[in-house]
Amino acid sequence: MEGMSVIIKKVTQLLAGLIFVYGIYIILHGHLTPGGGFAGGVIIAGAFILLILAFGSSELNLKTEVSGSSGTESLAILLVVILALMSLLLGAKVFIVNFLPKGLPGELLSAGVIPLYNLFVGVEVAGAILTIFLALVIFKEESST
């Protein structure tokens, strides 16, 4: 896949980092502002996809497998389910219960387990969408060459 013009490449280089940081902000403030895990994960994946679209897959030398993003996605889901199962052992011994201490409403470090869930779900969603995109791009490469 060919890349795009020089203007788009320069602007993407400047913007991709900002988009990535914005996605992390949405994830971390998921219990205070709208957004949360899923929306932040999609924004993070959007930063990576913007880079791939602007520079073209031939220049980025994408590998023939999606092992990196696929492994990240599976690891994040495992952490979510293990976190849910840990609540079976600690605290009130019920599945998916909020067992970490809850602070004051409105603080960043509050609401128990929810920021952790947001973080893992965000990483998982970013990995999943990136895997889908990479699989489709690499499939196009393999079939056309």
């Binding site: 205070l32 949360g36 899923f38 409403p105 969603v125 969408i129 889908i132 699989a135 489709l136 196009k140």
Partner: protein, 112 residues
């Protein structure tokens, strides 16, 4: 009341697209239109007149909030819609490689 009727009309537009379009990608897009119309209907169901966004502000206590449950439902359903659209597009691309066309009138190997 008109808002509900408009979302239902959008649902029927999507349904018309699924039935009459011949291109695989257009069928997938029409299915997405149907999904989004139902999400709009779900969020509309939870609307209360004069309510604000359901985020608790510790200073202003006791304000009227709209119903947050349909909004949680729609968030989950958006993720499901994404997965479904991704599956449809992956199969459509592979079908193009095999049959060299997106037209559903050409893709009829299975009969009877």
């Amino acid at each position: 009341m008109t808002a509900y009727i408009l979302t239902f009309i959008l649902f029927l537009v999507g349904l018309y697209g699924v039935i009459t379009r011949r291109n695989l990608i257009k069928i997938a897009i029409s299915l997405s239109i149907m999904e989004f119309s139902i999400f709009l209907l779900l969020v509309l169901i939870g609307f209360i007149d004069g309510g604000s966004a359901p985020i608790v502000d510790p200073e202003k206590a006791g304000t009227l909030y709209v119903d947050p449950l349909p909004q949680a439902m729609v968030l989950t359903a958006i993720v499901i819609g994404l997965a479904t659209t991704a599956m449809l597009m992956a199969i459509a691309i592979r079908l193009y490689r095999k049959y060299k066309t997106f037209d559903i009138r050409e893709i009829k190997n299975l009969r009877g």
